[in-house]
């Protein structure tokens, strides 16, 4: 096999850009090629220009898998648009593939006839072999009708930097900026935001700033001159609400929402956590937030993470622990301790594919049953789920508010898709959030640890250092009145029911679920968590097609909103869509047995595509 890929030759041109409503671009390369950064920089520029967008990083668990192999491919998809963008896009209009392995991993995600930009320097026999291609990849993938741009990215990067005297490693490392430069030309976007990033990032290394700027411009000019890219595109700013915006990913939003809650409650925040993908960056952000007084404790294991937090809650802090599925499993005994001692605690579960180590870097919603029930004994906790990267801020805040005001552990569920996905966020200053009033014990009154508010059943919080309120709590069952250890059979039943009823009464403070789309009709899409964007987009398209459909998307999973049964009863058919084998469907079946639940399930470590949802709903409507 002798194959050579010839690079596209530069050629002058000048044409008016074509306006597009939205476009999806997927950057892909080796996990060391800087694809996540490239995608992020493009997203930032688009956001500054007023586009709406959503991103989806898709990266391997291995930090540096063998170069050039499919297992080591890292991808970053961004969907940019003039309209309201709710998902990172099902399929890409443009794929950047830095090597044959990237093409192999991502070719199936490119729209029919889409544009593929290849780094032709890596498309040689060696690269084909590593990727497992036996023939010309374009042929093997059946991409002959696609718009293939063969760009000599590596060699032109080297060429443009040859006078700077940089070492070869630094030179090759900047080739991602060449690809980014090409994309900027293609979408008529300015380079200045990315150049500003270089200036800030590499303040102490001016030679790196210069190199990156040079390569970025080289890519831009190359795209401007080659014949294969005959025209460029323009996405006009989205019509979005007035206000101040920033890009934010789910984990940062979660951390900030918790910080907002601590500030609102007037409490210092304590986070005890152990690093685990994909939750780690919450701990990282918190560790950096000492300026806001955060006590961050990197524990020796998951159990110590939650236990230090329980100790902090006992001492009167707003306590948080963050984890993912395997870590939550390890924390389960300690969650039970927080349940029985009725201490406020926020547990963040950033879900990933399971069971066991499963798919650490991929998204899934398969922890729901573990979150609801994964403890010994009757052990109810409140459960809240965020649904977009940016609303992790609000729901993290609400999780903390419930924990602090109801003296109970609350589990906030997000997932890898929300954690790493980002979108522009209309900043919600703390003034727009409700207040938080923890039920501190009155220093001038007698204190009984299990004396309860008759309405909410919430006990009072007496903190070590309050004179006269010395008391003992613990994992043994306590007398309902005196708070001392009790093995009395009837008392245990009273306490068990009280703990359950206390969680149930949170219902009074959570909003009714609102149906999007038609308020009654043929089919109700039901979802929870990160599937919102895809479900809402599918709903819009179904409504455009004239279907009588609605969407009920749940953020409060335990307790469920008061009107849940009423909402489920308004449609002829119900389809519960989730990234698991049907855990929420099973939960609804248990709670509302009068309805029939159809299911759409996907367990591939990937979000739904809008098409999949629409197909499933349409199929259901045909029956």
């Amino acid at each position: 096999m002798h194959l050579t890929y010839e690079a596209n030759k530069p050629m002058g041109k000048q044409q008016k850009p074509i306006e597009l409503d939205d476009v999806t671009i997927r950057f892909s390369g080796d996990s060391g090629d800087g694809m996540q950064l490239t995608g992020t920089l493009f997203s930032n520029t688009s956001a500054f220009l007023g586009n709406d967008l959503a991103t989806f990083p898709d990266y391997p668990a291995e930090i540096r898998a063998p170069q050039g192999t499919v297992g080591g491919v890292s991808g970053f998809q961004v969907h940019v648009g003039h309209k309201n963008i709710k998902t990172p896009g099902d399929y890409a209009d443009i794929l950047v593939a830095m090597n044959p392995a990237a093409l192999k991993a991502n070719a199936k995600w490119v729209k029919m006839g889409g544009t593929i930009i290849l780094d032709v320097d890596n498309f040689n026999e060696k690269g084909f072999a590593k990727a497992g291609y036996r023939d010309d990849p374009i042929k093997e993938e059946g991409l002959e009708d696609y718009n293939i741009i063969r760009a000599p990215i590596t060699s032109l990067t080297k060429e443009s930097l040859k006078d700077l005297g940089l070492d070869m490693k630094s030179v090759v490392r900047s080739k991602n900026m060449f690809a980014l430069g090409m994309i900027y030309w293609l979408f008529n976007q300015p380079l200045k935001y990315t150049e500003e990033f270089f200036t800030n990032k590499f303040r102490k290394r001016p030679e790196i700033i210069k190199a990156n700027e040079k390569v970025l411009k080289a890519g831009y000019h190359y795209a401007d001159t080659i014949e294969a890219l005959h025209t460029s595109y323009l996405i006009r700013p989205a019509e979005i609400a007035k206000g101040n915006y920033r890009n934010i990913n789910g984990n940062t939003a979660t951390a900030w929402g918790l910080l907002a809650a601590a500030e609102k409650a007037g409490l210092q925040l304590f986070i005890g956590s152990y690093p685990i993908t994909p939750a780690t960056s919450i701990l990282e952000e918190m560790a950096a937030r000492k300026d806001l007084g955060v006590i961050s404790f990197q524990a020796e294991d998951e159990i110590a993470g939650i236990c230090t937090s329980i100790g902090a809650s006992f001492a009167g802090k707003m306590a948080v622990t963050t984890t993912s599925g395997p870590g939550l499993a390890l924390k389960s005994e300690a969650i039970g301790l927080a349940v029985i001692t009725e201490l406020p605690l926020v547990i963040v579960d950033v879900q990933r594919g399971g069971p066991s180590t499963g798919l650490p870097t991929k998204t899934e919603q398969s922890d729901l049953m573990q979150v609801l029930y994964g403890r010994n004994g009757e052990s109810p906790v409140a459960v809240v789920a965020a649904s977009t990267p940016s609303n992790c801020y609000y729901y993290a805040f609400m999780a903390a508010k419930i924990a602090l005001e109801h003296m109970c552990p609350v589990i906030l569920m997000t997932d890898g898709y929300l954690a790493n996905g980002s979108e522009p966020w209309k900043i919600m200053p703390t003034g727009e959030l409700p207040g938080i009033t923890p039920p501190f014990a009155d220093p001038d009154k007698e204190y009984e640890p299990y004396e309860r508010d008759p309405e909410t059943l919430v006990r009072k919080w007496a903190i070590p250092s309050m004179p006269g309120h010395e008391h003992r709590i613990g994992g043994l069952e306590k007398d309902a009145l005196k708070g001392t250890v009790s093995y009395d059979p009837v008392n245990h039943e009273v306490m068990t029911k009280t703990r359950a009823e206390k969680i149930r009464r949170i219902t009074k403070e959570i909003p009714d679920i609102e149906i999007e789309g038609d308020q009654d009709g043929d089919v109700l899409l039901v979802g929870w968590g990160s599937t919102y964007g895809h479900l809402a987009t599918a709903l819009e398209e179904l409504l455009d097609e004239g279907k009588k459909a609605g969407l009920a998307h749940f953020h409060y999973l335990n307790p469920l909103p008061l009107n849940t049964g009423e909402v489920l009863g308004k449609f002829k058919k119900i389809i519960v869509c989730e990234l698991n084998m049907g855990q929420f469907a099973g939960y609804l079946r248990m709670n509302f047995q009068q309805f029939t639940y159809h299911q759409l399930n996907k367990i591939q470590g990937l979000p739904f595509t809008v098409t999949e949802i629409k197909d499933a709903v349409n199929k259901l409507l045909e029956v």
Partner: protein, 341 residues
């Protein structure tokens, strides 16, 4: 600690809760409880500033009997929970009550990391070399060959020596006492409270039901003074009914000698320096065992080193002072933001 400045007059009775003590009659735990209540009443720390935190096991019922803030937690995790409490409020005097199973088996990881971090908590480790609450299985400190319910033919495991483990984990304070020596225990508890950093006190404790007499060989009335070396900082390591025995260093080994024999005088006897940073001799002393050696009691190691909780708060104060971000709103508007008009 501002709370200690204000002297408060307490008696041990002030630290007794209204709960009936439910340990077996004759259990060593009763004496330890008395020692603790006495120490706390003498420390001059306000009662509401004490937090007593335990894991699971017979010893871990302790907080219920103390009229302080108390938290009976879950098996093995008391060190982590106590760490969280202490770091949250360094003003508190935090005591962890644990046993050989709780601290050295299921909770081994938390113990060594609390010690390594040097969180300013006081860990009282009740070592009865047996699982008492589950009725008589061997523990990580049971003697090799010990016959218990789960080792009917004798264990084939070597036990942990808590002192060696703690010092190996960078421990800065390690002491040992005997359950029924209330005077010594009280003194040691007070010294542990004054030490800034993790203090581990191993209490050799007799379980009358499942491991009775585990320490009889070193603690019976007749032999106790010949088989226990009570250490005093800055003083020679002399022991014995007639105060005629001592410890010397012979090459790389410790050796028991008799004063007056073979020309040995008091000047030859090792002086105990609890504040010596080098852990070598402290490890050797803590590893002395009957019958070759007396068992060392008292404060074996007491080295100054900054406590974790103080450093955490010092760092927070420093970062706070130097940061432009003073509120969550400052944070929300930091970095790249833009306005849509």
């Amino acid at each position: 600690m501002s709370e200690t400045k204000e002297f408060v007059q307490y008696t041990p009775r002030d630290f007794k809760s209204d709960q009936e003590v439910r340990w077996c009659p004759g259990c060593g735990d009763h004496a330890i409880l008395n020692s603790m209540q006495r120490a706390m009443s003498e420390l001059g720390i306000r009662k509401e500033m004490y937090a007593v935190i335990s894991g699971i096991g017979c010893s871990s019922r302790f907080p219920y009997y103390m009229n302080t803030y108390g938290f009976h937690t879950i098996h093995g995790r008391a060190a982590a929970i106590a760490s969280g409490t202490k770091v949250s409020n360094p003003e508190l005097s935090v005591w962890e009550i644990t046993g050989d199973g709780d601290a050295l088996a299921i909770g081994g990881n938390h113990l060594i990391h609390a010690v390594r971090r040097n969180v300013n908590i006081n860990i009282i480790l009740f070592n009865n070399q047996i699982y008492g609450l589950t009725k008589g299985q061997y523990s990580p400190t049971s003697k090799k060959g010990q016959i218990t319910k789960t080792s009917p033919y004798g264990t084939v495991e070597d036990p942990f020596h808590p002192g060696e483990l703690v010092i190996g984990a960078q421990g800065k304070f390690f002491a040992r006492t005997m359950d029924n020596n209330i005077k010594l225990s009280t003194e040691i508890f007070k010294e542990a409270a004054r030490h800034e950093g993790t203090s581990v006190i191993e209490v050799l404790q007799n379980c009358v039901i499942y491991n009775d007499g585990a320490y009889a060989d070193i603690n019976d009335r007749e032999h106790r003074e010949d088989r226990q070396l009570i250490l005093h900082d800055g003083e020679p390591m002399i022991f014995g009914k007639n105060r005629d025995k001592g410890i010397i260093m012979d090459g790389f080994k410790l050796q028991v000698v008799t004063l007056g024999e073979k020309g040995i005088t008091e000047d030859d006897i090792l002086i105990h320096h609890a504040n010596e940073n080098n852990p070598g001799l402290h490890t050797m002393i803590s590893n002395m065992r009957h019958p070759s050696y007396p068992v060392a009691l008292g404060v074996i190691r007491n080295v100054q080193s900054p406590a974790y909780d103080m450093m955490v708060h010092a760092q927070i104060d420093k970062v706070k002072a130097g940061s432009k971000i003073k509120s969550v709103n400052d944070l929300l508007f930091s970095g790249n933001t833009w306005e849509v008009e």
